[in-house]
């Protein structure tokens, strides 16, 4: 007992002796994932995009709920069916003192989709658009068809300075030479694997952030990240491991910040093969794929106790889901709520579909991608077994899982029959999951890229395509709602289970505006003082 007291005493003494944050306004942040480059156009992926947001601005910015805000563009509006006009902010200076004009935007859009060796490019947001500079502060963007997502797309591409010149390389950005933006922070240095340092841009055109200097430290291991926070080596960490949340809540010197993300965790079912590889009759014989029957899909949804998943598996840190995005996002329909848990009803529905004794199924899922992903698979399997669908569980590392789930079968078809996946909507509206998950798989037109169950319904397809060509927000909202209601409510194309809630932790007195896109943006960390 004595030792115990001694240790606690030491811990308290350590907490008090450790310097308060803000030695000269420095904030040290422990990050799970490090960017792969400083070049904002090199790698279109979470860690890079969130880091780039500190020193580069975009034409349009997104707030914590992914609502659009003026960035380098003051205003935007469609001026014809197919043309959008962006009015640029005047008097903005780059970190090197040069003026921001439409030339920089033109230069950026020329470069961004064509960075050599890019493992994931920004072409997604820029192709099919032509850009015209009207004057130094006016830009016209034209598409072939009406395109409502223009402002959202413009919120994805960081604007660089034209002064860095043609042929600027990714290496020039990494060394800091070309890392010149208009963002609230200026880039100082990056030592890969060790630290990334930025300093406040005193000439920032918008509200200045609180911290003068920010040091990001990549600490991939979860326990080590928590320990670094407790030890006072970092002031703030992201991706708090779920097992530590309860403990940290009880910790005196720690403050947690949580927020629902735009990521829905859902189940995808094979809806394109009569003979599905991981569906068997009881005893292992062949069976015509029961997942083709909407009643079976409905029964599975009813068999899932979402409250239990949220309370037990997720320890309360999740929100049960009935559609593609949580409340408050664009395209959410008021007519769909999370399916109520009803095992008896599920059994009846199974019997009605001709499977009174159920069948055998295997659920596949990743074990290192989403919060508690493997445990969710196990819970779902138990729940399904309870209504007679004897379900085996197979989970694997994401590095192996996603390839097999997307194109592991013959002819690059999805390999599995029943899988757990998640989808974070980068655009903050339901058109993103609708077009990728529920639109018929159409390689040539770029629809259904992640439709791993190959759900297909012509009516839904038409609604999605119409929505993607309807600029008027109100009309588009109606189309998206209708498409969601049909694809999930009627067809049960996917089965949403819950929306992920993310947790950040900081020293006492530091709070964070949790972002729906799961990004860690140091401008959102504020102290109570």
């Amino acid at each position: 007992m004595k030792l115990h007291r001694f240790l606690i005493g030491c811990a308290i003494a350590g907490m008090m002796a450790a310097p308060a944050w803000g030695e000269g306004g420095t904030l040290t942040v422990g990050l799970k994932a490090e960017p792969s480059s400083i070049d904002p156009h090199y790698h279109n992926l979470g860690p890079n995009n969130s880091m780039a947001a500190h020193y580069f601005s975009r034409l349009v910015e997104q707030d914590d709920k992914l609502r659009l805000l003026p960035g380098l563009a003051e205003s935007w509006q469609p001026i014809s069916e197919t043309t959008w006009e962006f009015k640029l902010r005047q008097g903005v200076k780059f970190h090197d003192g040069s003026d921001f004009t439409a030339d920089d935007v033109m230069f950026t859009f020329e470069r961004a989709p064509n960075v050599p060796k890019s493992p994931s490019s920004f072409a997604t947001y820029l192709k099919g658009k032509s850009f015209t500079k009207v004057d130094d502060y006016t830009l016209h963007i034209t598409t072939e068809r009406p395109y409502p997502l223009m402002p959202v797309d413009m919120a994805q591409v960081p604007i660089i300075s034209a002064d860095v010149g043609e042929g600027v390389t990714t290496g020039d950005f990494n060394s800091g030479m070309a890392a010149i933006g208009t963002g609230p922070y200026r880039f100082v240095e990056w030592v890969p694997g060790d630290r990334l340092v930025i300093e406040r841009n005193e000439d920032y055109f918008d509200a200045k952030p609180e911290w003068e200097r920010i040091v990001f430290k990549p600490i991939k291991s979860g326990p080590a990240r928590v320990a670094a926070l407790l030890a006072g080596d970092v002031d703030f960490i992201d991706n708090v491991p779920p097992v530590d949340i309860a403990r940290l809540k009880g910790e005196e010197g720690v403050q947690l910040s949580q927020g629902v993300s735009s990521r829905v965790i859902y189940l995808h079912m094979d809806q394109f093969r009569e003979d599905s590889p991981f569906v068997k009759a009881n005893g292992g014989g062949e069976i015509k794929n029961p997942l083709l029957d909407v009643r079976v899909r409905k029964a599975i949804s009813m068999a899932i106790d979402r409250d239990a998943i949220v309370d037990r598996v997720m320890e309360g840190v999740a929100i049960k889901a009935g559609q593609l995005l949580p409340e408050g996002f664009f395209g959410v329909t008021p007519n769909l709520s999370p399916e109520a848990y009803d095992p008896e009803g599920a059994k009846a529905l199974l019997a009605e579909a001709g499977h009174p004794d159920g069948f055998e199924l295997t659920i596949h899922g990743p074990n290192d991608r989403y919060i508690n992903d493997a445990k969710i698979c196990e819970a779902v399997a138990q729940m399904l077994t309870r209504i007679g669908i004897r379900t085996a569980v197979e989970t694997m590392p994401k590095a192996v899982y996603f390839r097999r789930a997307s194109r592991g079968g013959p002819d690059n078809s999805p390999e599995f029959s029943f899988i757990l996946v998640g989808w974070g909507s980068g655009t903050g509206e339901s058109s993103s999951p609708l077009r990728s998950l529920l639109h018929t798989y159409d390689k040539d037109r770029g629809f259904g890229a992640s439709n791993r169950g190959r759900h297909s319904d012509a009516e839904v397809d038409t609604l999605i395509e119409d929505a993607l060509a309807t600029v008027d927000d109100e009309a588009r909202l109606a189309l998206l709602q209708k498409a969601t209601e049909l694809a999930i409510g009627r067809n049960q194309g996917i089965i949403p289970t819950h929306y992920q809630v993310n947790t950040w932790a900081g020293r006492k007195g530091l709070s964070y505006t949790a972002r729906a896109d799961e990004r860690t943006i140091a401008m959102g960390v504020t102290s109570d003082r």
Partner: protein, 325 residues
Amino acid sequence: MTVFIIRRLLQSAVVVAVMSLLVFVGVNVVGDPVDMLINPEADQAEIERVIRDLGLDRPLHEQYGYFVVNALQGDLGDSFIFGQPALQLIIERMPATFELAIAALLLAVVLGIPLGVLAGLRPDAGWSRTIMAGSILGFSLPSFWVGIMMIMLFAVMLGWLPSTGRGDTVPVLGVEVSFLTRDGLSHLLLPAINLSLFKLSLVIRLARAGTREVIHQDYIKFARAKGLSETRVVLVHLLKNIMIPVVTVLGLEFGGLVAFSVVTESVFAWPGMGKLIIDSLHELDRPVVVAYLMIVVLMFVIINLVVDIVYSILDPRVRLQDTKA
């Protein structure tokens, strides 16, 4: 002699070639890096572009062919994630790992030899049993767990040492080192102890066994009979003789320390090669993994080659046997 060296060189080349095939194929049949790299919002056209750009659409033997041709010119490929030459990424992080490995080795020697000698001189004393029991713990506790416990105790509870990262570095001959600054040294201490625990236990055991053997030798008895002080007997006559096996083993173990400090580096977020390799494995950055393993293979092959040649110089029997065979 020349024949012997040529033969050995050829054999080494075969080993490297076979290893390159095993490593390349092994790494390339697991998963698909594209899904790790690409933004989920990307459409099929973009996914195909990336697959094409990375050369993943080509058959495996063709990819291997490219790899071999480039490797022979000293190019082990570009990292999928960073877009920089894999070799450069590894070399950039080499100093950090070497610094950690050398610090761990020093700790093992400086603490291990005295403890082992003490335990060997008084094998029945209580503290000597404690030392030996401790060395068993050092062997058997997983270093991941020990690392976390050390962080909990020294960083979180006591607040004496930082828990993560490398701290301030200063350049020495163009290489960044951290042991010359106070901050860097404090960052170095915990990971170095963590990494050294296993080697420390090994050295203690070797030193103890050596001491037990040497202490009964005639020359020790003679030294005592001559009336030399116990200090001199131990420090000069005994120590010199137990050092031979210790140095041999540590020389070989150093390669292992450098190549496989993976666990310690990830627990302490030490920006070295080990952390790079484990991150690359997670994200399926194949060129980096392959390059890293090839460097390790090359390192061990060279060490063994040198050892063989040295043996053959020292012991003509090895040479003769070999030419006959």
